[in-house]
Subunit: 279 residues, 6 copies
């Protein structure tokens, strides 16, 4: 194995342009997608801190977008004595949803968390006793949309496109200038009206509702994200360096799970769904 033909890092092949894929094949590269390293229990140790960072950033971005000078409703997340706090709806009780909830509460907001998984809700409820938890049913989604100031979509179904939980019809029922934040945009988005935006132009308005759909949120806290990445990836980098790629991926199943191309041959094709930066 010639080391120059190997790649190890965030690969995101599923959302990559064809020429990137061709380059792997042509150069007979063995490529390991660190975002797909997966433990037997389904957790993804290198992706996880990125999701944690993304989750923690959501509230400070929401706070800004609620300000008038950003086009928002002009309300303060935590309110103040005599003025109620903002109502936040978080759809998805995974890593992003949990870390977003933690900071929203820390800023004084009211938070309602929805998920289809009762067990995930119970974990959120035990961790944050003052949160309201609801089963993520169409009826409940419809209900909470009517009074939410912010709706955060933070759904991750590993290897699948995110389901659409908020439709265009819901928008008609929402308060004017309410804020939709689609953190599942890396996987196609979980709101019908989402389309990717950028850190430069983070929002657009549709039917009077503000949409924020920036992929790769942690990219703008690069220093924190880099340290977090190195902390999580280093053990695997050392493993690859010490054992060589072939031995490492055969010995460590978590690593083997992340091989996307082997000497140029694409593998694990079924996992090549839209990239899973957050979740």
């Amino acid at each position: 194995m010639r080391p120059e033909t190997a790649f190890a890092g965030f690969l995101h092949l599923a959302s990559a342009r064809q020429d990137k894929i061709d380059a792997l094949t042509k150069n007979r590269i063995t490529a390991i997608a660190f975002e797909q390293i997966e433990m037997p229990d389904g957790t993804r140790p290198v992706l996880r801190p990125m999701s944690q960072i993304g989750g923690r950033m959501v509230p400070q971005i929401a706070g800004l977008l609620l300000q008038n000078n950003a086009g928002g409703k002009g309300i303060l997340l935590g309110g103040i004595t005599g003025v109620p706090a903002a109502e936040i709806v978080v759809i998805g009780a995974g890593v992003v949803g949990t870390y977003a909830t933690q900071v929203f509460l820390g800023m004084g907001a009211h938070v309602i968390v929805l998920d289809t998984d009762l067990k995930a809700l119970e974990k959120i409820q035990d961790t944050f006793p003052t949160v309201t938890t609801l089963i993520s049913s169409p009826r409940n989604i419809s209900r909470v949309c009517t009074f939410a100031d912010v709706v955060v979509g933070a759904i991750l179904v590993i290897g699948e496109k995110a389901p659409l939980v908020v439709t265009r019809e819901h928008l008609q029922t929402m308060k004017p200038r309410a804020l939709l934040m689609d953190i599942s945009i890396d996987q196609g988005g979980c709101f019908e009206t989402s389309r990717p935006t950028t850190h430069e132009h983070p929002t657009f308005i549709l039917d009077g509702i503000i949409h924020y759909c920036v992929p790769n949120i942690p990219g703008v806290v690069a220093r924190t994200a880099t340290y977090a990445y190195v902390n999580a990836a280093l053990p695997y980098i050392l493993e690859l360096a010490n054992l060589g790629i072939d031995q490492a991926i055969s010995k460590d199943e978590a690593l083997g799970h992340a091989v996307n191309s082997y000497h140029g041959e694409l593998v694990n094709l079924t996992r090549l769904s839209p990239k899973q930066m957050v979740g």
Copy 2:
């Protein structure tokens, strides 16, 4: 007294243009500056919620300005497992400093609070046991500047220009792209290098240090600020309406303290120092 010659609300005469002052005199207006209503214990009931709102907004603004896309260091206020949180220095343990501290902690940051008043520090320490408190001496200011990611100046000396606690020399010792937030800018600012900025262009860089010096921060959460203002001001508005101005200001000392012009004659001139929006 003709009611049309009366004014009651935020007046900010000290920082007003001369023509505004002339208008009061010429039209023989009785003007009550609600920001100067003052209880016997020195608290200012109508100004106070504005300071609380301003304080709570500081952390979400800081979070944004630390992002790379805002020119910041690219760090997350609360850090993440394995990556330390940001180091926040809050100078001034008054209303703004207390409310800023509360939200900074809620977002996971480390906070050091300095004040010259040991009693004010003790109150902060009792309320937030994990905060570090320090006497605000030149030596301590110099020390904390060397490692701070964010320095918040939140000093209010009623009726006086804020003292300068961070000098241009301090800037040389700070980390590159550290963030200075001068919340005393309404009173002239408490950092030597401060000059007022706007919500549109909130920052400038001097000596490699980012400066944020926007006056009237609550203005961009107008809805929350308006409700808060009405809650605080309504009792005084009702008092004026029910008793008439003359009786109200003579009967209620707190209100009398806030009279800036009486039938066109300027009064309480010594209080007409720079406006005290925050503190």
Copy 3:
């Protein structure tokens, strides 16, 4: 002064029958109403623990009355994962309201506290950051009545009949079988439709709304209430015993404030408004 002509304890003369008052006069009794002992700052040290106990009991009584077998809606105060907690409205941020709020939160309920006094609300907000606080205006009362599961009236205006804050019209807008608890019933009640009930028959239903209006709630935790009373009253009892009544009431203003009859002559008549057991 013959000691047998003196009385010291809870007197409640204002709500007493005429023959009780006559007995004082006829027997030339000096009567000290311990519930009216009042410190210079307006606090009532012997009444206070009764109000604290009453406040803490409100939530456990509410919990029971929400059960189906008590005729209630069949909901659990704290809800459970996936099922929202009950919405509690507490009108009055005094001692009763504060202690009720503390236990409601401890049982997992959502609490909204209203008061006309912004300062009292701020104290509640600082103590219980997850509570929602609102100014007690007719508009806010109307709004919260529409979704409340429980409305607790806990208003005390010293020496005055409680104001009526919830009218019969409000009842039409409330959820069926919502629960009204009038803890100001000792002072005449703060809901238009209140009328005193008893621990034996604690509730009645009017317009589909359950009313609980039992005066002297602490009476049914007699052991706790007795210890609390002795703790609070003993210093005054000792003072009376050591100094004699005349010297005690002239030397200790707080005690003097509580004299209702002096050698049979009624005094402090203006304070003889309905008894103030709770507040």
Copy 4:
């Protein structure tokens, strides 16, 4: 399979009358006892929320039964400044015990939790650091009985009758009018002197000790319990509807574990011990 011959829901066959069992056989019904759906780790997802609700109701019932008007000692669970809180003993650190402990603490009571399983105690201790934990040995049970105001029996041994941990002899050592609450009564009870009571007549007194032994506590918060049940059961109902019973019970082991009769034939007979409503 004709759908009308199937049953899915809480079945409680073990405690059912014979004619109910006969009906299953005679009508060749396939009956799935939702309370016996069991995950590989032993948790019972549909039973669990009922236990959580039951646990959370225990303290509000205890609070009521300690009142004088219910025949109790006349004490307040949380006490008040200067008067100690009630001493609560919870035997069993399972779901009921944990949720009861949470609310007892929220109401200000002192709680001692006993269990034979040190690991379960450690989890309680980590979650509620101020609780006292003790190994559930006869000696410790004897000791805590002497000073307890309330003893809650919340023992669940899946598929077995609850062990008797408090005997009639213990009653002699207890404080007069102490309160025994046997939440294991669905499984036969864990106090020697327990016998089932009802929500209408919830208590009886034996040897001066108040006994509360109502089975199916959540039944009186029917609304909350129904929502919680639907949340937990819906995935299984959908599974049955989508796959048909035969395929569902063969594919989903958790569901298969809950089959009590198959086309009229009784199965899983060894699991047909007394019903396990709480635990």
Copy 5:
């Protein structure tokens, strides 16, 4: 006034040897006892941090003295899962008692606080809701002595010898090797059997009970104590330096209150009771 004839600092004249007093007189010294600087509300700003430090040290000293190698009972303050925490009794809800309570709770111990002042107890109860509070009556003292592992005496009556609250008789009822810590020893002690000990030989055993009676506890965390002293004293030192002694003590009543000798003449003699290092 010649500056060399002035003294400002901790003076402790009441417990000083006669030659020290003579030196003041002979040298016509103006001596200001910083421990006696007293605000109008009775707080002592320079003494206060010393009491806070002393209070926080009590638990770590208690922890050590409970170890077998220090002669103690061999128990851990916080216990461990399945083994109850130590029972701590703190007599006195002042500064020392409050700060000791805070750290005892932080180490996991159970704490009972007694005071004769119900208001002081309420403040403790509000700050530390899990503490038990009791009125400090002879009956309550006797009761708690029987099961306490540690009894901390932290009574300060300004300007008076501390009252004796634990007598030699109490010792007979205590558990063997229980620990008495007399933090009022600077004022003569509040246990009948106390006599001053030293940091070198901090304890003695009497009637099987371990006594710890070291005065000036903060002396062994000299660095922390020095910084705390300077923080508290500096404003007064600057005042003296800027205004001169005569003007300072006449202008600042708090300072004037602390003058012990003026140009050699002893003043404020009634305050010269035993020194009040802690309290």
Copy 6:
């Protein structure tokens, strides 16, 4: 099997003298080392409470050793208003590290926890949100040593000598009289300069740094440790008594794992590494 030839308890064969080992062989003893009972998930149920106790004792010992009279720096762990708390570095996020962190925080200290395992750090971070967590790399260790007041080494690698994480070189960079506490000393220690000390002479100074390296810390809270041991060991003792040794060790793998000699024959030799009292 004759019962007298069996031993069950803490054995610590690896660190035992040869004659102890010979005695086992000669007397054909079956010896079960309770500290090596190990569950399938690697936890050691009988060792675990000893580690918990040890962890909780570390802060009270540190507090004492920081006092001047013990030769320390003279600082208070929790500092006081205006004086920063001590900086504590805990290396190792296992049981000892977690329990030490809990109490350090409870005493008001600042804590930084390092571990090579990101997952262990995340657990610490979730449990104690105000702690700083760092990956235990040589670079990070070097950095934190420069400002630590206390460095606690709490590394347990089951069956292996602890790695040396702090070298003699590090000592040069530390603050004078900083405190090193080597809680891994039972396994050979994790600081290069450690050598075992005793409860009688717990510390030595090397290069100006105070070393505390006492093995078996829980030995001096014998009463607590004994109860904790019995709680954890009793199920195994009963198992041995009820089944007999042979059946017990063959049926219960956790117990079988702990057999060190079988009828005098040494087994599990590879596990006979230095004793693992703490970890």
